[in-house]
């Protein structure tokens, strides 16, 4: 059994804005194993983007603060990594695709220059010309503790490459590359993300590309660093539906080719259902239900998940008006005590106002730490299937 690639434990993130503090993420735990695709789904403002950006420590701190918890990536607690060393983890270790493809490319550089930069970053790190998190056989960091991760723990994810390296790349491995060598490599990644006529696209500026093209360039940039974890934060929500489908299809195809785990953040249940192996449902900063994607969608065991699924339109039957969840998302500066969903929950009883329910396995006796166990943070999970 492999160790998890990423282990988030009891993560607490607060925003301090003016006099108020907002608990954007409370007590979130998550494990991602190599080659897994994990989805996080939730409404706007439930903390899913905060969680996504906190993992590679991209949240502006302040106003955000990581109050407690650990983000253990390949054996190193990223919460304790210094600002100076953090860039070495990003890109080649944890790469990210953002929700704004329209603004996530630098308008001043051609596609070639942007991709070449990512490739250069990886190449330099692989060669050990800059200290790297992914530094081959050497211990990547000078941490006194915790001990640097043994590369063996992540197995193939370190050595296997996304696309077979070309002969040129092999030849140019231990020296600075020429422009035309970079060009060939950039072209390979452009073809990988199914871009037609890459020789032309290479020389275009971002504003000359459509949204879907830009998002593919972003994906190519992320992949060209050969990360072991790819975080996709709503990669399709800024695109219109047809482009969305293209990009999703591409992501699904790449998931098989890419030797990386993927954390897929979305508010769109359909997108998650199509891409993820396991899914975590977030509500008001907490993960309220977690499990294999089919099980979550077929038999949700948390009243919020159930309500969320009911509120999604179905294309198979005409149910009349869509159902809604009564009430509104709680103000995270003063979250309700106990289970945060109780003010809107049909199952709510007195016990729900006391201690917040733990994320416990649905099946009695199941190992809570095992991979892919269906878990729900509800005292009355057993009653959820009986709800309308």
């Amino acid at each position: 059994m492999t160790d998890p690639l990423l282990e988030v434990e009891n993560l607490e993130i607060t925003y301090t804005v003016g006099a108020g503090t907002f608990r954007a993420v409370s007590d979130v735990s998550l494990r991602i194993y190599p080659r897994q695709v994990i989805g996080i789904v939730g409404e706007t403002g439930c903390g899913k983007s905060t969680l996504a950006q906190a993992i590679p420590r991209l949240l502006p701190e302040p106003p955000a603060t990581i109050g407690s918890g650990r983000i253990v990536f390949r054996g190193t607690d990223l919460v304790r990594v210094s600002k100076r060393q953090m860039p070495m983890v990003r890109g080649t270790g944890i790469a990210m695709i953002f929700q704004e493809p329209l603004n996530s490319l630098n308008p001043a550089y051609r596609v070639f220059d942007q991709l070449a930069e990512s490739i250069r970053i990886r190449h330099f790190r692989e060669m050990g010309w800059v200290k790297s998190f992914q530094g081959g056989n050497e211990a990547p960091f000078d941490y006194s503790k915790p001990a640097a991760p043994a590369t063996a723990t992540v197995g193939g994810a370190l050595t296997r490459s996304i696309v077979p390296d070309g002969a040129l790349e092999e030849a140019a491995r231990d020296r600075l590359r020429t422009r035309s060598e970079y060009r060939d490599e950039v072209l390979r990644y452009l073809r990988l993300v199914r871009i037609n006529d890459p020789e032309t696209i290479l020389n275009l500026y971002p504003h000359e590309l459509s949204g879907g093209m830009r998002q593919r360039i972003m994906i190519a940039m992320a992949l060209s660093e050969k990360p072991s974890l790819l975080i996709a934060d709503e990669p399709t929500s800024a695109l219109d539906v047809t482009i969305q489908a293209q990009v999703l299809t591409l992501m699904k195809e790449l998931i098989d080719e890419v030797d990386a785990a993927i954390l897929f953040i979305s508010h769109d249940l359909g997108v998650i259902a199509e891409t993820a192996d396991e899914v975590g449902v977030m509500y008001a900063g907490r993960i309220v239900e977690y499990g294999p994607v089919a099980e979550i969608f077929r038999s949700p065991r948390h009243p919020y998940t159930k309500a969320l699924l009911r509120a999604a339109p179905s294309r198979y039957k005409d149910e009349g008006p869509l159902s809604t969840i009564p009430g509104s998302v709680p103000n995270l500066s003063r979250p309700p005590p106990g289970c945060r969903f109780h003010p809107r929950c049909v199952l709510a009883r007195d016990v729900c106002r006391g201690e917040p329910p733990p994320l416990a396995p649905v099946e009695a006796g199941a190992d809570p730490n095992a991979r892919g166990v269906h878990r729900s943070a509800c005292y009355f999970a057993a009653e959820v299937p009986n709800l309308p």
Binding site: M88, R90, G91, F98, S104, S118, L168, D184, E225
Partner: protein, 351 residues
């Protein structure tokens, strides 16, 4: 297949550097005028320095027999009451005034730009550089709270007469504007998604500042700098006019000082060419740099750059595009417009 076939895209890229520059200038007549004027001014200044006898017939203090003569072939801008040739003095002042403008605006850009970058990018409270940027900004505020001309005049009085002290005085009052400008631009750019995306790709902070932020603020800063050369010239001339910067008549004439001298001696009331010539020289130089600044704005922004290339390429007869430095190996002209194949444009139209 990849490396051996011809690489039209790269050839087009090489072609684009000068070709694009030229096409934008042509598409925009005012910038073309500005560009040509600046080139003429610069070439003239170089000739005056290297081979003065070509353009400057008389010495700055040389007296001729024609006194108070109007413009003529012998004296294009006339002479003053002692027969000194105004044209020669105006020409001799050109390199000096130009150098002063460049020196002041240039050092203000360097000092203010550097401090502005630091103050804008590393402004996290609680860090060493964050503290530095707070101090820099407060010093900037102190300087900006004075009218810069008055401050420059006061400093000139303290630092002494002459060109060097005046340049220093204006520079001291000038850099805070660049701190404010650069800091503002950095603040606007540093929170844009692409900066965060670069960070997520593992780019280090210093490199983000130099490669991603600096490149994107360059355009407004260079435009401001170009326009500012004109403003600096006017300010220096004002100080020269008040009579603390340069001595006229003297071995190294300066336009502002010339204006002041002829106006204060009263000659200008009777012989207007005495002030029209240096005044016109100031106007023309400032005008040229202003036009160039506007043109640069278009050239430096990739968006307008492409737009200009397209609109001008459409009106261009096909034969003329082959005058670029590199021949187009991509076949007939209709395939390529301004470096962008039509197919790509149709697939991804730019509004």
């Amino acid at each position: 297949m990849v490396a051996t076939t011809r690489t039209p895209a790269l050839v087009r890229r090489a072609d684009s550097r000068f070709g694009v520059f030229w096409r934008i200038l042509r598409a925009n007549p005012l910038s073309l005028i500005g560009f040509v004027l600046v080139v003429i001014i610069a070439v003239t200044a170089v000739i005056v320095v290297v081979a003065p006898h070509v353009l400057v017939p008389y010495g700055p203090l040389q007296q001729t027999a024609d006194r108070n003569a109007g413009p003529s072939w012998a004296h294009p801008f006339g002479t003053d009451n002692l027969g000194r040739d105004i044209y020669s003095n105006v020409m001799l002042a050109l390199p000096l005034d130009l150098a002063i403008g460049l020196a002041i605006a240039g050092s203000a850009l360097l000092i203010g730009g550097l401090l502005g970058l630091v103050a804008g990018f590393y402004n996290t409270p609680g860090t060493v550089l964050g503290g530095v940027s707070v101090v820099v900004l407060r010093i900037t505020d102190v300087f900006l709270s004075f009218p810069s001309l008055i401050l420059a005049l006061a400093l000139t009085r303290v630092l002494g007469l002459g060109v060097g002290p005046s340049v220093l005085a204006i520079t001291i009052t000038w850099w805070p504007f660049y701190v404010r400008l650069v800091r503002g631009e950095v603040l606007a750019v540093k929170h844009l998604p692409y900066v965060n995306a670069a960070r997520a790709a593992g780019v280090t902070e210093n490199r983000i500042l130099l490669r991603h932020v600096l490149r994107n603020i360059l355009e407004p800063v260079i435009v401001y700098f170009t326009l500012d050369i004109g403003t600096v010239l006017v300010t220096y001339s004002t100080i020269g006019y008040i009579g603390v910067a340069s001595i006229y008549p003297g071995p190294s004439p300066e336009w502002g000082a010339m204006l002041a001298y002829y106006q204060q001696t009263g000659s200008a009331n009777i012989y207007p060419w005495l002030v029209l010539a240096p005044g016109g020289a100031i106007f023309l130089t400032v005008f040229a740099f202003s036009l160039l600044g506007d043109g640069l704005r278009d050239i430096l922004d990739p968006r307008t750059r492409r737009a200009f290339v397209r609109s001008s390429a459409i009106h261009e007869p096909p034969a003329e595009t082959s005058t670029g430095p590199a021949a187009e190996p991509t076949g007939p002209e209709p395939d390529v417009e301004g470096g962008v194949p039509l197919a790509a444009r149709e697939a991804h139209p730019v509004p």
